[in-house]
């Protein structure tokens, strides 16, 4: 991994402009101490020579880095499938770009690898901070990374994220809203197809779901934990619909599974929403391109990502930040939910 050779450095620019390295540095960092004339001359020379300061050298001496890290620990094919992350990343980017900061991305296989990577990135001063996502109950990253002093922002409920400032959505309320909405439509048997059981937000949603169902006096609710992908979503839907006491409404933990569920329903001869109501989560564009369109608990994922990035900047800059909740996902009724059959 070698460069081709003779690249221009600050010294060349300084020499050509007839000033010292220091002057060039001052000029390029828009600091006082250089006259306007000199400044312009320096910039002219830099342009002429095609010089830009070496980020490497700069961050070595200034102890500043313009890169933040994000490690994603999900199966590759799921990442491709689920619109959530790209949306989220683009939200992050929108804020980073403003500050001409870049995102260092790495897909990892497990949390141990993620921990090792973060340590390497941080100790190696490669990143200014990190974004941590997909928190689990008793997440090993909390004890492992907390002591590092690495600026980080955690995406997840504060209950899960230790001392890391958290940015999260109030999933419990959202789940409750979903259930209440379906109950209001007359549904008495509502099932839920959730994400991986070890994921923190799955636990939170599962609990809120059960609580709300009990509270509303609905029938005991069936919940199935899945791996978040369309195959498992389809299988879970099939299982639910084959049962004697099949539900009249199903809530999904993401949109992929909801779409898959709609397919299964059609295949099994159920009409959505007449026979069966479906409610998705996350609400990417995916929910709008199917027929019928999918009702969903929607939130602005792009904005979510942007907010996360903003909090990270605060942390990095030493601004005291507790993190905060972003707007709760709210119900967007579309074509896949309707009054319960025979209601």
């Amino acid at each position: 991994m070698s460069g081709t050779g003779e690249r221009v450095t600050i010294k060349d620019v300084a020499a050509r402009a007839g000033v010292s390295k220091g002057a060039v540095s001052l000029a390029f960092n828009h600091k006082p101490g250089v006259s306007q004339a000199t400044r312009e001359r320096i910039f002219a020379v830099a342009r002429e020579l095609g010089w830009a300061p070496s980020a490497t050298a700069r961050s070595l001496s200034s102890q500043r880095v313009d890169i933040v890290g994000l490690a994603l620990c999900r199966p590759a094919r799921l990442l491709g499938l689920e619109p959530f992350y790209m949306d989220f990343i683009s939200g992050i980017e929108s804020v980073l770009a403003e500050r001409s900061c870049s995102l260092l991305l790495r897909l990892v296989r497990d949390l141990d690898e993620e921990i090792a990577l973060c340590k390497e990135w941080w100790r190696g001063r490669m990143i200014a901070g990190a974004i941590l996502v997909d928190f689990r109950e008793d997440d090993p990253r909390v004890p492992a990374l907390q002591g590092l002093g690495m600026p980080a922002v955690a995406v997840g409920h504060p209950r899960l994220t230790g001392t890391f400032p958290a940015v999260w959505t109030d999933d419990a309320s959202a789940v409750a809203e979903a259930v209440r909405y379906l109950a209001a439509l007359g549904h008495r048997r509502i099932a839920r197809v959730g994400g991986p059981a070890d994921l923190g937000h799955s636990v939170i949603r599962a609990r809120a779901f059960a609580d709300t169902v009990r509270q509303l006096g609905l029938e005991e609710a069936r919940q199935i934990a899945t791996g978040f992908d369309e195959k498992e979503g389809a299988r879970a839907t099939r299982t639910l619909l084959l049962a004697a006491d099949r539900p009249t409404a199903i809530v999904y933990d993401n949109d992929i599974m909801a779409v898959a569920g709609a397919g299964v329903a059609a295949e099994m001869g159920f009409t959505v929403p007449d026979d069966l109501s479906l409610l998705a989560w996350d609400d990417s564009q995916l929910c709008r391109i199917t027929h019928p369109t999918l009702s969903a608990m929607s939130h602005d994922v792009h904005h979510f990502g942007a907010e996360v990035a903003r909090v990270l900047f605060d942390v990095v800059n030493g601004v005291d930040t507790q993190g905060h909740q972003v707007p709760t996902p709210s119900l967007t009724p579309r074509g896949s939910t309707a009054p319960a059959p025979g209601g």
Copy 2:
């Protein structure tokens, strides 16, 4: 953007192990010149102190970087929607991770911004090389970046990519195969919903499509250029189906638009595939979760990404590489294609 403070450096490790900085460096780079005993002592101390070499300092002095850059120039919402890029990125990552290299990602608004970014990244020695995607006809990046000496790999047909080593799929053949397949099913009026007209591969596909149609003696084909998103896909489909001489088969340039097209068809009362055959491109999981499932020109996007990364490594390491074609997308018939109505 400051560090918290007293981080361990090579000097601390050297002192604690009773050797010089040089020895530690040699040990950590697995170079000869240090005895086994000393080596082990150094490693022990490093572990004890929690030290890892600073990537920044290392790359400054050794002129090596373990980061490659990727700038994506597409509207954010499309990136989230289209499974292609995440698949592609995960393929890239799979190869990078093996070499403990990371991916620097940035979303840009236009090619000028991308050019500026690449220059900055390269001159700033922040990246070892770059991956360039979405080539247009007479792409401005070719003249602008070619002279930089920056190792890069271009994703696109060599006709478009100047002197950059290219990795590409043979879209022309794939389009031809698609058309022949539909013709064999008895379709005489086949339309195509393509991507943005200025994108190089759109042009290639459009031309190949027209050629094949002519060659097979089919009716003059209607082609519509779109922005790749589901709205435009839906609109294009509607336009096609409203025409007096509506097609009996439509080929789409990605899967998003095909899914949207299927929705429009259903909404307009056409049954897929009895009244209308639909054929998607890229074939992400998306094609398998709809009903009917979508026939598609499928290729292994993950592998594509991996191959791109491999070529980039060759270029970076000075291995003489011309780049090469990856397997041509091949037809995967599913439920959305059938013999032409009344054929």
